[in-house]
């Protein structure tokens, strides 16, 4: 059996808010793994730290404890907690995708260009990148009349599809998904579920948080239940 692509060991995260002089525990002692062609789902009540785990892996949050071992395309294993900023940027460019709930984009850039951009930074020509962006956008069922405008003014569901198309376009080795169908109507959600299954079949390892337990049941090969956070005193032990 091939070893997992991602192995999270005793991951912990807390925020220290200087102004309020307050410690906010966010994840505590989280361990699990994700393998190629398989989907691991994180479940638990709101505020339990699901998004924070995804952000810690992507290094949008600086982890406070534990190890996040990632096996790259060459088979090298590195700890994402300790990897250099340039290593992280390079992995984000080539191997690790993240579909967040929010989209940051230039006010003038067309939706087509927003989606094509990750390909451009990999050296794909503009024409081909736009072509592939168009394919993903139609697969997401985003009306063609919206392709030439900026997503800045889109509805939540439209933005979400742009975000998904942009996350899927490089077919990352590891894809992090934070409530990817939360603001979609049932028919569109169904399409997105189909696309997730397709990418998984092609070998992408996925770590996801879903809004609906039923989607988790359908898509997850493995479910990780995050335990409620311990009191602040427990989180403080991470320091020791």
């Amino acid at each position: 059996m091939t070893p997992p692509i991602l192995q999270v060991e005793a991951y912990g995260k807390h925020f220290w808010l200087h102004e309020q002089n307050k410690l906010i525990p966010s994840s505590h002692n989280v361990s699990f793994s994700v393998s190629a062609g398989s989907l691991t789902a994180l479940v638990g009540p709101t505020g339990v730290g699901k998004s924070s785990v995804l952000k810690g892996i992507y290094r949008t949050y600086l982890p406070s404890a534990g190890r996040i071992l990632y096996r790259d395309a060459q088979g090298h294993v590195l700890d994402l907690v300790r990897a250099s900023e340039h290593q992280i940027l390079e992995l984000r460019r080539r191997e690790i995708g993240f579909v967040t709930q929010f989209l940051h984009c230039l006010p003038r850039q067309s939706t087509l260009d927003v989606v094509a951009r990750p390909l451009l930074s990999l050296g794909v020509s503009r024409d081909e990148a736009r072509q592939r962006a168009a394919e993903w956008l139609s697969a997401m069922n985003l009306p063609e009349r919206l392709w030439s405008v900026s997503p800045a003014t889109f509805s939540g569901g439209e933005r979400q599809r742009v975000n998904l198309a942009r996350g899927f376009i490089i077919k990352p080795r590891l894809l992090l998904l934070d409530e990817p169908t939360a603001s979609l109507d049932p028919a569109t959600a169904e399409r997105v579920i189909g696309l997730i299954e397709g990418l998984k079949a092609e070998g992408t390892a996925m770590l996801a948080v879903f809004h609906h337990p039923e989607i988790t049941r359908r898509l997850a090969d493995q479910v990780v239940e995050l335990a409620p956070l311990p009191a602040v005193e427990e989180a403080l032990k991470d320091f020791a």
């Binding site: 220290w16 102004e19 952000k55 949008t60 900023e85 940027l89 390079e90 006010p107 003038r108």
Partner: protein, 276 residues
């Protein structure tokens, strides 16, 4: 990926300086003005790396030393201390040990600068095209026809109407002046570009087009850039990594999304919270 610029311990003090300047200034002291000798410690102990094709953000409030960082690297003023190494193909240059002629050569051939104040970056007494021609001449292109053609291409690239190539910059809008500055900076296709508050003070739609242009340039030419701005939106859109400055010191450095979503330093937390 290769390193293009390495800055170590760079500092700049305006004024006579005294042995107490450093300990009496900075974020802890809450000032950049030395109470003992009246000198301004504009920057102190600034260090960072920049890789080929990368965009690094320099953020911080007014007076924190952002412009001083890029002006020192572009040889507008000599720093008081520290060093910077520029890696250019198979050569490397210790920037602050070079003589004036060598510095001028790098500035004209390998670096580009877009100033916060267009009066610093453009000659207001000659036309837009003339400004670009001037830079091409400094970089040894001599043929008049070729210069004019290149100027046209650059102005078209930066979306300045070609009909206005012979107009004086003072007759241009702020957004157009910045685009002429960008065209001028790009004339020699430098591998390293410094951008100081390029979009500050412009209205939103003009800002968006300039940001867009900068990203296109970075993708097409793989230009490495240091982008100075106090606008967190610009930082998020353009940069992959950033440093945060306060009273001349770098107080935090990291991946841009991390600095904005999980800032570590008390000051950065306040800065980010106040921008929400």
């Amino acid at each position: 990926m290769n390193k293009i610029l390495e800055v170590r311990g760079m500092s700049k003090i305006y004024g006579p300086g005294c042995p107490l300047c450093i300990e009496s200034t900075g974020p802890e002291a809450d000032t950049n003005l030395c109470p003992h000798c009246g000198s301004v410690v504009a920057i102190h102990d600034v260090s960072f790396d920049l890789f080929e094709g990368e965009i690094l953000g320099v953020m911080g409030e007014s007076g924190s030393g952002k412009s001083t960082v890029v002006k020192s690297l572009y040889f507008d003023q000599a720093p008081s201390g520290g060093e910077a190494i520029f890696y250019d193909r198979d050569k490397q240059y210790a920037l602050f040990s070079l003589n004036a002629a060598q510095q001028r050569w790098l500035r004209n051939h390998r670096f580009g600068m877009v100033y916060q104040n267009p009066h610093l970056g453009l000659n207001f007494n000659i036309s837009a095209g003339g400004n670009i021609a001037e830079r091409l001449l400094m970089s040894d292109l001599m043929d008049y026809g070729a210069i004019r053609e290149r100027a046209k291409t650059l102005l078209a690239r930066t979306e300045v109407l070609l009909a206005r190539i012979d107009d004086l910059p003072k007759h241009f809008s702020g957004g157009m002046q910045q685009r002429v500055q960008i065209a001028k900076a790009l004339a020699t296709q430098p591998p390293l570009l410094f951008l100081d508050e390029v979009t500050t003070g412009l209205d939103l739609s003009v800002q968006a087009r300039i940001l867009d242009l900068i990203l296109e340039i970075q993708q097409e030419l793989k230009t490495a850039m240091v982008v100075v701005t106090h606008d967190l939106g610009v930082i998020r859109l353009l940069t992959g990594r950033a440093i945060v400055m306060k009273y001349g010191r770098v107080i935090e450095a990291g991946l841009t999304d991390q600095i904005l979503e999980d800032p570590q330093h008390a000051y950065t937390q306040r800065l980010v919270a106040s921008a929400l």
